[in-house]
Amino acid sequence: MNKVLLGLLIGALLGAIDGGTAWFTPAVRAQIVGIVFGSTLKGLIAGVAAGIFARKVNSVPLGILFGLAVGFILAFLVAHYLQHGYYFEIILPGSIVGMIVGYATQRYGAAPVPATR
């Protein structure tokens, strides 16, 4: 499995779990479908970005840092857009999902085969 596809799958999976936990917050339970969808999309974008980064840069620390940054930015944008005030509850898990995806795409997944003449 290549790194971009791996990032996409893990990002989507963790994003869906991340969004699914909103069910435990009664105040936003009614919007659960939208939250899960949005969170999955967020994870998916972070995963693909981390996967593409991993194809270009071969470094676990940089991959984790990149995932963290992407996860943070996306989660911040979501929290800011929703205007629920749940900044901590959205940004912390979103950033950690980014870190995990960043690590996974560096550590696992097939690197692109160098072109030969």
Partner: protein, 345 residues
């Protein structure tokens, strides 16, 4: 009554054994090993100003069986140009009639000594894979080693692994030169070599024998080799030795034994050893590459062909392979639960 001390006797013996290198481009330095066929010295190549290993026969015979074997060994080595096989530089006959050849002087440690400083199983397996590379190459060139054992493997200062002592090698077919083949006692009669100048190998030889007799090292030689069934020998005989060698790398002994720390060998590795060193050649790996592939798969955390896994073993291997990632996900989920608890307080 004792007229001469043991050490003086030893020095006299060394002096008597020392070859006369007059007329060659080599200058004798010191004796480094003694084998069944001859003695290995270090010498300096005075033309190229480099140190070489010089293997010379004990007896001054150019047309005897031992001389033929030594020349054949040099020719086999010359035909096997591979980074994992010690390269031969020269072969010839000394003024006193003794056959010799020179080869690269390897400043390393024997495998059995070297692994005392290598505790990690993966590192040991990576050394084993390099041995497999060299043996697989020799098999592809139609040569069986027939004496694979830790004492015949050298590990150089930069971690290079060299398979030494091809004195018992058997030429099966094909790519090795006819000159090398004619020296094979199981092949045909030997053709007397043309006059030449110099030669050598840097290892000790276990046993040297004639046609159909037992040769090899107990514990490492295959049952068919131990029986002297020369006609039955093929690549799988070396695979048996590789199985025993792998066991040695893992347990310190060529036969089934517990690990030095008292724990049991991993089932997959034990299965690889068992499959390689089983008594029946038909049940062994058909080629060195297949055995090496299984070891590589083990190193990569994949299932090995020699050991069908249960569901539980598959799960355990999956966990071992992705342990850090699984723990990361678990930590993430735990953090999610903590956040939920925090929010609901």
């Amino acid at each position: 009554m004792k007229f001469i001390s043991d050490s003086a006797l030893e020095r006299l013996r060394d002096a008597a054994e020392a070859p006369d290198l007059a007329g060659t481009r080599y200058r004798l330095l010191e004796r480094i090993a003694r084998g069944g066929m001859g003695v290995v010295f270090t010498a300096e190549d005075e033309n190229l100003k480099r140190r070489v290993a010089l293997k010379v026969l004990d007896v001054p015979a150019t047309d005897g069986d031992l001389a033929n074997r030594l020349i054949r060994e040099a020719r086999v080595l010359a035909a096997l140009e591979h980074p994992g096989i010690v390269p031969v530089h020269d072969v010839g006959t000394l003024a006193d009639g003794r056959v010799f050849y020179t080869m690269k002087f390897v400043e390393g440690k024997r495998l059995d000594k070297y692994i005392e400083s290598v505790a990690s199983i993966p590192d040991r397996l990576r050394i084993f894979l390099r041995i497999c590379d060299a043996v697989a190459f020799a098999h592809a060139r139609g040569v069986l080693h027939r004496d694979l054992k830790p004492a015949n493997i050298m590990v150089g200062p930069f971690g290079e692994v060299l398979v030494m002592d091809w004195g018992l090698a058997k030429i099966l077919r094909g790519n090795v030169s006819d000159d090398a083949r004619v020296g094979d006692p199981e092949a045909t009669a030997f053709e007397k070599p043309k006059e030449s100048a110099s030669a050598g190998d840097a290892t000790e030889v276990s046993v040297v024998t004639g046609h159909g007799t037992v040769m090899g090292t107990p514990g490492y030689m295959s049952p068919e080799q131990a029986r002297g069934d020369v006609a039955l020998l093929d690549a799988r005989s070396d695979i048996y030795s590789l199985g025993a060698l792998l066991r040695f790398l893992l347990t310190g002994r060529p036969e089934l034994a517990p690990l030095p720390n008292g724990s049991r060998m991993d089932k997959s590795l034990a299965a690889i050893c068992a499959k390689a060193a089983t008594a029946s050649p038909a049940e062994r790996y058909p080629s060195v590459q297949e055995m090496a592939l299984d070891v590589s798969r083990y190193l990569d955390g994949l299932a090995v062909g020699a050991h069908p896994e249960s569901l539980l073993e598959k799960a355990a291997r999956f966990y071992r392979r992705y342990r850090f990632f699984i723990l990361l996900i678990a930590a993430y989920l735990a953090m999610r639960v903590l956040i939920l608890l925090f929010m609901h307080r």
